[in-house]
């Protein structure tokens, strides 16, 4: 609540005609987390679209009972400003594909914002094929426009010339030119995305659009159903997450209550107070570090979830006395060695797919067989200090469950936890047999997002 008041006060004291000032003021008062900035930024662009003045007019028209007309107005508006703003080219709509490509190229080469904006505008008019009134978030239009622009070619062409005409001399120069070209093309992409968003706002109004562009934070993305972009986001979010977790745990460990009284030290101290033990001395605590054994299903559907968990567990492996990891599909293989001596666990996780030998028969997960194989080879190494984590959706392809193996492991180990990346409502439907294993686990936990995963792993240590 006090944030709202601050925002309102900020609006009172600043120059409201300065758009970027309004934006950063709202950000400073309302958003209190760097990771939330992109979300805020999108929301701001939607609600304070530079063309919303026009959409206000549209709304007024609607109120006058010209509903049918206003839809057409919106459509006209979508292409109207394109011509109004493309001052240099009155005939810009009749531009050929080649001309457009050249215009883009020149704008990017010179780093000319104005020309870039105009070119982006033209590209959207030409390629996006926007249909007024369709309730979409714009990703599709963006994709269509970008596909038609053949950005790879453009980037290639740019990287030849950006270094001020001279041919790059060595590998470093080449690389710099490439990165520069890439950065400029990214700028173009952002410009096109903005253009599409603004047209959508114009077409359907800010409220409606805000609903379709609302995106969850990376921590809250559903790991199992993430698309490629979201996956990249998750990968990026994971590293800082694991670092933060490690710091937090190390701190908690250090501050945990002190150990038993250190008699020798206390008596030695008491000499200075005439033998009266005023100043008690304690031994440093000896924290019991658990030994973690991860058994992960890495077959198609749950592979990414397993990778994240392995990454996270190994990233904080200093918090455990030992971490051993096993992966399986229908055969089982130990992958702990991949993590040994590697200071970047992401790298090791990437190698699992290539190096682990996990397919014994047909490559469909078989939990029963994997557990049996684990029990045969490693059961005698499970002690009361071991905590076993099983990762998987328990979709067993109608193979035998062999739940008795888990029962025996539970008997030998300190605890057995099952992390399931599926939502609880899907459990035990189809070939999912969570319920057959559940009685022998200390806990079966739904773990769909990085946030849930982080919370669980944090508790473990």
């Amino acid at each position: 609540m006090s944030e709202h008041v601050d925002a309102a006060r900020a609006m009172e004291v600043i120059d409201l005609s300065d758009r970027s000032l309004v934006k950063s003021s709202l950000a400073a008062t309302l958003v209190k987390d760097g990771d939330h900035m992109p979300v805020f930024s999108t929301a701001f662009e939607v609600f304070f679209s530079t063309r919303s003045a026009q959409s206000v007019e549209d709304m007024l028209n609607e109120e006058n009972g010209e509903d049918a007309d206003s839809a057409r107005d919106g459509a006209a508006g979508a292409s109207g400003p394109g011509q109004a703003r493309g001052e240099g080219g009155g005939a810009s709509s009749s531009m050929s594909a080649q001309e457009l490509a050249d215009l883009l190229f020149r704008a990017l080469r010179d780093g000319n914002r104005q020309a870039l904006r105009q070119a982006a505008n033209e590209a959207v008019t030409r390629y996006a094929g926007m249909e007024p009134g369709r309730p979409v978030g714009g990703t599709y239009y963006l994709y269509r426009t970008l596909r038609n622009l053949e950005l790879e070619k453009l980037e290639e062409r740019l990287s030849q010339v950006t270094t001020s005409g001279e041919a790059p001399e060595d590998s470093l120069g080449e690389r710099l030119a490439r990165d520069e070209a890439h950065a400029r093309v990214e700028m173009l992409k952002a410009e096109i995305e903005r253009e599409i968003r603004e047209r959508l706002v114009e077409d359907r109004g800010a409220e409606a659009l805000a609903k379709s562009v609302r995106k969850p934070l990376p921590e809250d993305l559903d790991v199992m159903h993430a698309n490629r972009d979201e996956m990249a986001q998750l990968e990026r979010a994971l590293r800082p997450l694991s670092r933060k977790l490690a710091v937090r745990l190390a701190r908690r460990r250090r501050r945990r209550h002190r150990g038993p009284v250190d008699l020798r030290h206390t008596v030695r101290r008491s000499l200075s107070t005439g033998g009266v033990p005023i100043d008690l001395r304690f031994k440093p605590p000896r924290p019991a570090k658990p030994e973690i054994i991860v058994i992960a299903d890495i077959s198609g559907s749950v592979a990414s979830f397993a990778r994240f968990t392995l990454h996270l567990v190994h990233a904080i492996s200093s918090q455990f006395s030992k971490v051993r990891s096993f992966v399986f599909v229908d055969g089982l293989d130990e992958v702990s060695r991949l993590f040994e001596g590697v200071d970047d666990s992401a790298e090791a996780v990437a190698r699992i797919n290539v190096e682990a030998d996990v397919i014994a028969f047909d490559g469909h997960s078989d939990y029963g067989r994997a557990f049996l194989s684990f029990h045969d080879r490693f059961a005698d190494q499970i002690t009361k200090r071991s905590t076993i984590l099983i990762l998987g959706d328990a979709r067993n392809n109608y193979h035998q469950a062999h739940a008795e193996v888990i029962a025996d492991l539970r008997y030998r180990a300190k605890a057995v936890y099952w992390l399931n990346p599926e939502p609880t409502s899907y459990w035990n439907s189809g070939d999912s047999i969570v319920n057959q294993y559940a009685p022998y686990c200390d806990k079966v936990i739904e773990c769909r997002t990085l946030r849930q995963l982080e919370a669980f792993v944090g508790e473990l240590a």
Partner: protein
Amino acid sequence: MSALDPREELAQRLGLLHVPPVRFNSPAELREKLAEHDYLSDDAIASVTFLADRLAKPILVEGPAGTGKTALAKAVADSIGARLIRLQCYEGLDESKALYEWNYRKQLLRIQAGRPEGAAEEWSRLEDDIFAEEFLLTRPLLEAITATDPVVLLIDEVDRVELETEALLLEILSEYQVSIPELGTVKAKQIPMVFLTSNNTRELSEALKRRCLYLYIGYPDVQRERDIILSRVPGISSALAEQIAQVVRSLRSLDLKKAPSVSETLDWARTLVVLGREEIGAEDAAATLHILLKYQSDIERATKELLGRSKPFA
């Protein structure tokens, strides 16, 4: 009653005789003043700092290490001619290091000095006496509050203190006052500018965030980084500065353990100037990469990716 201007309201609560004037008239002016002191800001930095002054609120600055969070506070202090009071946070920081402490040696002396008179009724007077401001050792927070000259308070790396210790800061951040049980409440004699910085190693509490304006300073883009290099490294050509900025951007796009910070970029630029280079060749880059990168694995990866070589320069 109509809503007061936030500065007026705060001044009234603190019992100040007159409302302290704002330090900057517009974000543009602020930007200029900072630039005069070799700090190149951007739109967000300038407007948030301007707002903080205008609304009399602290700023919480977050971002990767070495992007100029602390430097911002210093530059602001310089530009308004204020004294910078800095509280460096660390694990185990407590009240007696951050707020105030009773000078018990002095208190003991006072008690002993009072003794010869020996009268019992002396005691109550003495008790009042030893808990007077005279026996108070001010620590950074209290010092910032009680200062009469212009000050800027910098609470550095606030994410290093424990969650419980954060609570110490809350009163001073929202009310600009410190409560001392034996003495009462000490109110600010002016409205200081307050900066908190955090490297984001842990989530700060909601209570703390609520009281602050939030500013995220990320890595600068190529143009801004080039300008920073030009303003901070004397005798560098603008072509070289541009090239340096580009190399650093490429490095940051790699997946490194620790991306090069702005301060490391500046170190690198100075090195190249000392070496008398007009532009960076692959050889120079390989030989000086250790100034930018602090992990061997990072250096190896950068050498491979950027310079197309498998071994770092030997």
